[in-house]
């Protein structure tokens, strides 16, 4: 086994274990902390996939922003005192649904022939096009170019969605007294 493989199995194990912690633990605070670990482990998976920009975004936005928001929600709904039993009575059905979905997905993954990447040498260099053997390092400025040239319309729509969602969140979360004033 190469170093990369050892790293991959270590990080994959960490991801799966902490994700299991999110869905199986009996305490809300443990679930939230496990979620932070899962998100950081997924950032490490992105680094293994040679997408370091995405790993940075993941750490900043997910582990920094989303996880803190979820912790706030748990705190404000007093989940620790008011919810003694975290799982519903439908647990056996949930286990069956999860396992059967996993079986179908894994069978599909191994029964499908996936296409191989065709990588050509950069312009001005000699060489033949052929299937890639290692993940190709993707540079950040090229992602920026693609985001603001090819993908500029979806980008603007996403920013509009974010604006509308956050304004909606403010309207929903206002208290009743403020509404009477308005």
């Amino acid at each position: 086994m190469t170093v990369t493989e050892v790293l991959f199995y270590f990080i994959a194990g960490l991801t799966v274990l902490s994700a299991l912690g999110v869905v199986a633990t009996g305490k809300v605070a443990y679930a939230a902390i496990s979620l932070v670990f899962t998100l950081l482990a997924v950032a490490a998976v992105y680094i293994l996939l040679a997408s370091e920009f995405l790993a940075l975004v993941q750490v900043l936005l997910y582990a920094g922003g989303v996880a803190v928001l979820l912790l706030f929600a748990l705190m404000l709904t007093r989940a620790r005192e008011l919810v003694p039993e975290l799982d519903g009575p439908q647990k056996p059905f949930a286990v069956a649904a999860g396992l059967s979905l996993l079986g179908v997905l894994i069978a599909t993954i191994f029964l499908t022939t996936w296409p191989k990447a065709i990588v050509c040498p950069p312009l001005g260099q000699k060489g033949e096009c052929g299937p890639a053997n290692t993940p190709v390092l993707i540079n950040i400025s090229a992602i920026g170019d693609a985001l603001f040239q090819t993908w500029v319309l979806p980008f603007e729509i996403v920013s509009l969605v974010l604006l509308v969602a956050l304004v909606g969140a403010i309207v929903l979360a206002r208290s009743d007294e403020e509404e009477e004033d308005a």
Binding site: A19, V23, V66, L70, D87, G98, F110, W114, P135
Partner: protein, 102 residues
Amino acid sequence: MIPLQSFLVLSAILFSLGVYGVLVRRHAVLILMSVELMLNAASINMVAFAVYTSPARFAGIIFAIFIITIAAAEVGLALAIVLRIFRNRTTANVDEVHELKW
């Protein structure tokens, strides 16, 4: 080199755990956490396919960025709704908020 299938299996496991969590949990915020697991599994898939099958075109990476943005919007909005329900009902358990159930 790690085969593409390893990443796909990892994301399949994450997604199934997310589905299990959505089905089994009672508290709305814990359900949201499981949804985050499923979104992360989807982004791992996107990035793995982008890197292994079309490294020059970035579509997968851009979509992963969009997924992260939409997840942020979704969490903000869902937090506001959960707080609203909690203020009206003093509970955030989805099995106790069942007015629309027939």
